[in-house]
């Protein structure tokens, strides 16, 4: 496979969309270590990135891959790594350092079933890890959750933009369904001057490049002086607050819905089919699909709770995002929960009865 041309309609897997999207975003370095179900990403990039004049390294471990990302990010270069659940756990040390050192990198997690070695089948079991920090210390990642191969492509372009805008690691959280499904994607490249494009000046005020004609720069996460860490962490908190302006969600048939079904990623897409099917039969249900998992679309959910809507959260885990939904609506409503087990592949039919049961107050 060669690099996609602008406007070209390509029939690719979600994993391949991630790789093509990263290339279109101007990514120059990829570091990774094989793990199912995301191996198409390094396999594709091992030829596409060098062809584009960039660097591909198959690291000796996920630990090393994430630290290579940290090093490239410190140079102000667009770089990313991808992995799946157990591998992402190994990367958490470096991700925490990146957050602490305010370095912009992109991490893709094509989630598989867990805990432990679990299963190579799909799951959303890494929601907590993605949105609550994941590694040690008090920090957040910006988290995007694509539901289609096109979104996987688009989110990679947005992820690099957001990573540099906020000098923060960004995670694109997919799963084995998205990674392995194939559908048409329209390739596009951000035009120079667009908000999503990058130029040679990106990171020029902080990146490491040798200290010619200026004082030496230091990128670090160690703050030992009295009060220094407190000052630093307050700055991080302010940054996380600022990220809320980017909050995004898909709303489908929500306006007159009695019951809002909250679901993200691949499950959000499957639930959308269920919701449409139930609408056809006259049931007043709608889908609310958070696209930014951090920052979480809290205000919009709360507004719907104020309108008197009821809620059901459906996830491919035993109950994680439902905690954020409940936090958002807690003064006005509660959310029911339906979880499908990690490793299973649910169909729209599987969600009909869980939704109807809540709608009918059973």
């Amino acid at each position: 496979m060669s690099a996609a041309r602008d406007g070209e309609r390509i029939f690719i897997k979600g994993n391949e969309a991630v790789a093509h999207g990263a290339l279109a975003a101007g990514c120059r370095c990829y570091f990774g270590y094989p793990i199912t179900p995301q191996n198409d990403i390094p396999e594709l990039l091992s030829s596409l990135i060098p062809e584009a004049g960039g660097e591909f390294v198959q690291a000796e471990s996920e630990v090393a891959a994430a630290n290579m990302l940290l090093g490239s990010a410190a140079c102000g270069v667009r770089a990313f790594t991808s992995s799946s659940s157990p591998g992402i756990s190994l990367m958490q040390e470096a991700i925490s350092y990146m957050a602490g050192s305010e370095l912009p990198g992109v991490i893709v997690n094509m989630v598989r079933g867990g805990p432990g070695l679990g299963d190579i089948g799909p799951s959303q079991g890494d929601y907590f890890q993605a949105v609550k920090g994941g590694g040690h210390g008090d920090y957040r990642l910006f988290v995007l959750a694509p539901a289609t191969c096109q979104e996987a492509y688009d989110h990679m372009i947005e992820a690099f933009h957001l990573a540099f805008k906020y000098r923060n690691p960004v995670m694109v959280l997919g799963d084995a369904i998205l990674g392995q499904m194939k559908e048409p994607v329209t390739a596009w490249t951000p035009r120079l001057g667009d908000s999503l494009s990058h130029d040679d000046t990106e990171g020029a005020e902080w990146r490491l490049e040798g200290s010619a004609n200026r004082p030496a720069r230091l990128l670090k996460s160690l703050h030992l002086e009295e009060g220094a860490l407190a000052t630093h962490n307050k700055k991080l908190v302010a940054k996380y607050k600022e990220m809320e302006q980017e909050v995004r969600a898909e709303e489908c048939l929500c306006e007159d819905a009695e019951l809002i079904v909250a679901a993200f990623g691949s499950i959000g897409r499957i639930v959308k089919s269920t919701v449409r099917h139930l609408r056809d039969k006259g049931h007043k249900v709608g889908l609310f699909r958070p696209i930014t998992l951090f920052p979480f679309p809290t205000a919009r959910l709360e507004a719907m709770a104020v309108e008197g809507k009821r809620f059901l959260t459906i996830e491919h885990n035993t109950g994680q995002m439902v905690e954020d939904v409940r936090l958002a609506i807690r003064h006005h409503a509660d959310s029911a929960f339906h979880g499908c087990m990690p490793g299973d592949l649910p169909s729209p039919d599987d969600f009909v009865h869980p939704i109807l049961n809540v709608l009918e107050g059973k």
Binding site: C29, E55, A64, L70, G71, L208, A212, K220
Partner: protein, 251 residues
């Protein structure tokens, strides 16, 4: 009338070495190692073009003494971070500065694979046979019989294995272009040490591959010794087990 005194400056502060007091313990060799690195960078004209990867332990503060662009790496991961730096900016001079716990224990995989890939970076490895900053625990390089806070009866070969010889190990890897062991316990050895650091750096500037230099150093505080006795220990105990010399060379 007094005769005019002609003074000759014998000791000049390298341009990239900060004029500040040291936080290291009395008798510690990090100061010597820092100076060697600073002098070599300066003499090779690399000061403005260098990215340093600092590691964990006492030496993390190298950035307070040598004025250059620096990124702080997690424990043991400096060679992986340096790989990312070098791949992103091939035109920059990149080196790591690591202690024995960092390089030979937690970061052994990163060290070995970085060398084996032949990354064009330089590694300055300070071996003082002990974990310094955390208070004197056993390192992979701790000598047999050496007492530390986690082997209070002395390191036992049966229980803890034998001290790792990193210069030899690194020399065995395909991507390593230069590997040497030197010591910083006396003037003669320091002069030789500078030559080795210089060569490990030239390894990179000349595009030869991975350059590695191990500096046998003293940690009087954690060895519970005076600085003079610590220097003697380097000579009498460390050098016989960790022989000085060049284990791989590109010339």
């Amino acid at each position: 009338m007094a005769e005019a005194v002609i003074e000759k400056e014998a000791f000049v502060l390298p341009e990239n070495l900060a004029d500040r007091g040291s936080h290291y313990c009395p008798g510690c060799h990090h100061g010597i190692a820092h100076r060697l690195v600073a002098e070599c960078l300066s003499e090779l004209g690399l000061v403005d073009n260098t990215i340093c990867v600092s590691s964990i332990g006492c030496s993390v503060f190298i950035y307070n003494y040598i004025l250059m662009d620096t990124i702080e790496a997690p424990h043991g991961r400096a060679p992986a971070v340096a790989t990312g730096v070098k791949r992103a900016r091939k035109d920059k001079f990149v080196f790591t500065y690591q202690g024995d716990g960092d390089l030979a224990s937690i970061g052994l995989a990163e060290s070995v694979h970085c060398a084996n890939r032949g990354e064009k970076i330089s590694v300055v490895f300070v071996n003082n046979t002990v974990y310094g900053m955390t208070g004197g625990q056993m390192a992979p390089t701790t000598m047999i019989g050496q007492k530390t806070t986690t082997c209070p009866g002395g390191r036992c070969e049966d229980r803890e294995g034998s001290p790792m010889k990193m210069a030899e190990l690194m020399a065995s890897l395909g991507g390593t272009a230069y590997s040497a062991r030197v010591a910083t316990n006396n003037m003669k050895n320091i002069v030789a040490a500078k030559k080795a650091v210089m060569k490990a750096f030239r390894c990179q500037t000349e595009g030869r591959g991975f350059g590695f230099v191990e500096l046998l150093s003293a940690c009087p505080t954690n060895w519970r010794m005076s600085p003079v006795a610590a220097n003697e220990r380097v000579e009498k105990e460390m050098i016989p087990y960790f022989p000085l010399g060049t284990y791989k060379d590109f010339e």
